[in-house]
Amino acid sequence: MQPLLAIKNLHKSFTMHILQGKKIEALIDVNFTVAPGEIIGLTGKSGSGKSSLMKCIYRTYLSDGGTINYHSNDGVVDLIALNDYEILHLRKTEISYCSQFLSVIPRVTALQVVAQPLLKKGLPADMANEKAMFILKALGLSEALWSGLPVTFSGGEQQRINVARAIIDPPKLLLIDEPTASLDAATKAVVIDMLIGLKSQGTTIVCISHDEYTLQHLVNRCIHLEKGIIVN
């Protein structure tokens, strides 16, 4: 079976012009593949390159070298070689990124934040809101907060909204950073179940996590990074 993601010889470094051109190596010769439907966990200490790896896949970071072959609906493409518009198209249709913290947009309620991916797709508001409410309920976010503004919520509440938004419209490839951070044990289990459930909808997941429980119950395979290199 063709891998969904095939990363070969990936290099990423940062050149800090402010620090007189000091170079920092973030990823050195990274190679791995992800099969369709797999749930991969990226592990490693802070600064080991986990986030950099995800961001290189999502193209937030410009890679220095190597190839990231992605099996899109239009065939296999090298994510590093695509132009801006092609990347934007993939981000709209196939690849989603859920960052560690919720990015807060002023004046948008919790429910709207979660419903947005469906609204963007063109779904009617009532249908989108219904699905959003269903997920928020399952994640245990109290109804009172649904019309509240996330900027005022606790870390855990924000995280629930973040995850809800990521899973409401399951993408082909989901890159998710610390899905269960700040969550209590019960909610953790719900989130893990939901993420596993995405598999049946055709989603492949690459996630970063420090949490032992998550790694045990969610992830099929771990990739461990140390100072930008994969070690096993």
Binding site: F14, T15, M16, H17, I18, K55, R59, T60, Y61, L62, D74, V77, L82, N83, D84, Y85, E86, I87, L88, H89, I105, P106, R107, V108, L119, K120
Partner: protein, 282 residues
Amino acid sequence: MNHYSENWLLKVEGLTKIYGKSNVRSIENTGPLFDSNICPETGAIIACADINFELFPGEVLGIVGESGSGKSTIVKMLYFDMEHSAGCVSFHKAPYIGKNILNESNQSKRAIRNHLMGMVYQNPRDGLNFKFTSGGNIAEKLIMAGNYHVGTIREKATHLLEKTEVPVLRLDDLPAHFSGGMQQRVQISKAIANHPPLLFLDEVTTGLDVSVQAKVLDLIRELQQELGIAMMVVSHDLSVIRMLTDRTLVMKNGRIVEQGLTDQILQDPQHPYTQLLVSSIL
């Protein structure tokens, strides 16, 4: 995948604006490497030079830079508020396909401004006529597009004010009596009155209070999603750029120093100036 590269709505090539007399070396002796817009030999000011970029339908493009970077100059030239010194701008809308719209007649330019472009200025006084009511300002655009029915004009104006969350009761009030944020929203209503495919926003929230800023930005974001208008957002404020745009151009001393996806520009800036700019966010 490559069908994207030909689908642009607006294509800008070699756009240049020079004040004063320049010579053949003026452009190459100015720019970010020289940290100057002024030609050392003739004293000519190169406000911007060699500007090349494309804008796709429904895309939001940000232009960020500090004062004197030339960002407003570009938008002013595209909206025909200012004469260009050189360059070609192609607009993929009939009947202008294949033409350089910078060289079109005044009549054509006015038609383009009325039907195909909308502009929101930093200062509402530039975009609104303070002697007319808010409804009258919107009516001006509708009349220019050939609406001569007062009832219909008022209906459309009311609808637009509702969309921009301006109280409909203020339809017949003068903008001079509105707050800054409301004036901006009336400007936005006027700009989108004829459903143009392209909207320019020139520092539209600069100078507004933070809460008002948030309201206006949110409105712009909603309108963009609802109407699918392509937008060019000029700002020196990176958080505005982050909130609204998909792609960004970074400008310094009249040149584009970096362009790319907005999240890449903000999180993995390549050019030294971009790194400086991004690290300066409070």
